[in-house]
Subunit: 161 residues, 2 copies
Amino acid sequence: MSVWSLHPQLENDTTTVGDLALCRVLAIDDADYPWLVLVPRRTKHDPEKWEPVFGKDHASSYVTEIADLGVDAAVLMDEILHASRVLKDVTGCDKLNIAAIGNVVPQLHVHIVARWINDPLWPKPVWGAAPPRHGDLVAFARLVATMRDRLGIDEPNSFSS
Amino acid sequence: MSVWSLHPQLENDTTTVGDLALCRVLAIDDADYPWLVLVPRRTKHDPEKWEPVFGKDHASSYVTEIADLGVDAAVLMDEILHASRVLKDVTGCDKLNIAAIGNVVPQLHVHIVARWINDPLWPKPVWGAAPPRHGDLVAFARLVATMRDRLGIDEPNSFSS
């Protein structure tokens, strides 16, 4: 079994909130859009866990598609619901935008973004638009701490992958 | 219980593939991107089925968020996996892009779009870009028929909502 690790670009672009049962939860520092990213801690060579449906010849060992998760897809959905409810409740947003795209970073990751009908990009999606506009660091740190607390995640100092 | 119906804009913009257990499956005629849309046939006032977490005071009776589905979210995930595998297998695409956005059409709907690394918009998402470029009608009809067959859906003449 390959050892899971976070893709370097996700590592570079985000702050770690912590680990749920399946996913590492990340936060993107965007002043306009509170933004979580869920990354299932699975590799392609984990035969106990799932059936790779998209071919073992794929260039990387990253899981790239939700369908690659097999039975873990149900856990991913549970964690999407959990994170959705917390993000909605904490931010009071008008809408959540949820997506698994992965055209740039191949490691499967699910965006959960809080949107408002008067935010700068509304109604366009945030993906493929300008890079995040970084905001106040203290406010972002507070959001990360709140999300960690509300998601029921311990301090991220002893990850199990 | 409210009676479920498809949002008029989705009706206008798509062709019906048919009904899975939870979702109506639609196809968008886009010559560059084979594109399915899954719409859970649920209303907000369906207390046997789910707990509305985002407030009963919402303007419409449409389910707008995945988290509104409650236990049906697991069925949605099953149907996303099923449609993903079929779309990938039929098209031989390089990547699937999957999203629940709903900033324009409030009724919850999940896009599943086939992408190639040499397609016109790669690596940008298709949402928020130009409208679909309609292609050959016969080819599109063939794709819809193939998807219907491979998804195991009967001809859409007797929908149960």
